[in-house]
Point group: C2
Chain length 357, copies 2
Amino acid sequence: MPKVHNFSAGPCILPNEVFQKSAESILNFNNSGLSLIEISHRSKDFVEVMEEARKLVKEILEVPETHDVLFLQGGASLGFLMSAYNLMGTHKTGGYLVTGAWAKKAAKEASFMGNSLIVDSSEDKNFNYIPKDYEIGDNLDYFHVTSNNTIFGTQIKNFYKGNIPLACDMSSDIFSRKIDVKNFDLIYAGAQKNMGPAGTTLYIFNKDILGKSSVPIPTMLDLKTHSDKDSMFNTPPVFAVYASMLTLKWLQNNGGLDSIEKQNEKKADLIYNQIDNSSLFKGTANLEDRSTMNVTFTLENDDLNETFNTMLSDAKINGLKGHRSVGGFRASMYNAMPIESVQLLVDVMKELETKKG
Amino acid sequence: MPKVHNFSAGPCILPNEVFQKSAESILNFNNSGLSLIEISHRSKDFVEVMEEARKLVKEILEVPETHDVLFLQGGASLGFLMSAYNLMGTHKTGGYLVTGAWAKKAAKEASFMGNSLIVDSSEDKNFNYIPKDYEIGDNLDYFHVTSNNTIFGTQIKNFYKGNIPLACDMSSDIFSRKIDVKNFDLIYAGAQKNMGPAGTTLYIFNKDILGKSSVPIPTMLDLKTHSDKDSMFNTPPVFAVYASMLTLKWLQNNGGLDSIEKQNEKKADLIYNQIDNSSLFKGTANLEDRSTMNVTFTLENDDLNETFNTMLSDAKINGLKGHRSVGGFRASMYNAMPIESVQLLVDVMKELETKKG
């Protein structure tokens, strides 16, 4: 059991062996007598790290030969812009499914080089559901979705399948479940949930999109720039890529997506069952759209907040404060979160129920 | 004395205490029981790191109140684009002093939202000098220079002073010498030389430029976005910022720029004197433009390369291979390089001289 139970929404818990090995690498990398962070990124040792990280992504997600994998910088926030630049076609229009704060920000960036069309939005109900009955015209160059909404605790269970190229910000649930990569023209994800520390951003895309944009793309925002140089066009964020590689290796060694998906469902079931059987707690997300990564809930009686917070603190449960736009509580349970920590949280919720329910 | 003498051009040598403290932080940050890379970037502990890093930059460089300091992502390569976006004015033209490969890449990015004008270039002599007798018209929105050219071993000794706003890519010599920040409208620098590990990019700019661009700037490329949020608009590259903060603290504790500038000159003198008094070695850069950071030189007799390389390897001198566009050797001697390592290199050069000179 960890000393502190870290339910932070991101940056967030990572496997303990990632902390151990990445700390070691800073003192003495590969027994070279040099630190990981002082060697040239063009050295054989680091090029191997980058190649291993890309290979692990391909193996774990079963990325088809049609697609390339890159580790870049800028977070999903730069991904909003890059996805629009790289996918903008002859219609000069991107379509967006607005399911949360980040999706809304993504939609804004398309307007810098084209038109941004909101296909559907759940803002009417403070993003507590995933819209499903939308229609997509044939005047779109791409359709952009956000797979998991960290703030609002919702998650897309069935992705769009159709003729319009699909782009997806998968920052907060990539590597948490199986996905069919070939259905996506572009996936991007900030590392700092299931993949590694903050500081690198994963891009997976169909190589067919390269060089096809209808707008001129500045060098660093063009995926072709980075694909042509095997993700080494400029100095990569060395430490973040290395720690991501270690996290991906941990995932692969622990059964990959088959295994982690089952564990994540088990953890989510534990806490959602407690919420649904409680007289004190209430989930905020629509039942069928509930996220396995971020469980958002409130105490129906605000007066109990202080008591609950004290109990959480006594149990060394950390990072449970909900985002200000939803309030209440949020339990983020990424891959590295042990089920024992979730059980402890559920036990504390039960204890409050016994005391005050 | 370090086990390995790391003359790598970047990422490169950093102070030993930075390796020690940053490795510790990954195992147990601030005695929190949590790793630096698993805590929320909005936590009090990390916000303090970011604020301390910004404060140290301001103190060490004596940044005036008119200027702001940010730690962003993307490297200088994204800085090429951001500087053009943020400084483009009514003339829709940026002027560039092309003193090397990076300067040339910087000039290219202005063409995505305006005109890029080459004020002068030293490409005629493979960038072995800094042009000085150029004239700057009054039809420029800004004048962009590269303070130090890592590949070619040249460095600007006297910066332009005039009415045109000055932008500078200072990636490879920031914090190596005193500069007068108020003369620059924008300075940017990838961290991975004198400031820290790869993965974060420093921006220092006159706050007057914010919101004045004549072109629409995508959200993440607009310095105002980040300035308004105290460098925390999106998740920062936590580890890279922390290790940079430690490096800056080391610099401050060791006498700041006054002291480091003298040390850097001493180190540079040592090796340039050896080159100039040698019958075997020849410097490639114009005498008055020689860089104190990157010393580029060749062996006049190519047949000696193998012998010299073996001697370097025996002395555990690492990273001395010159860039392919210059050939020969390059000794990069950033702030953290002890003079003892430079002396050792000079001793090896002397030994070759005795044997073969």
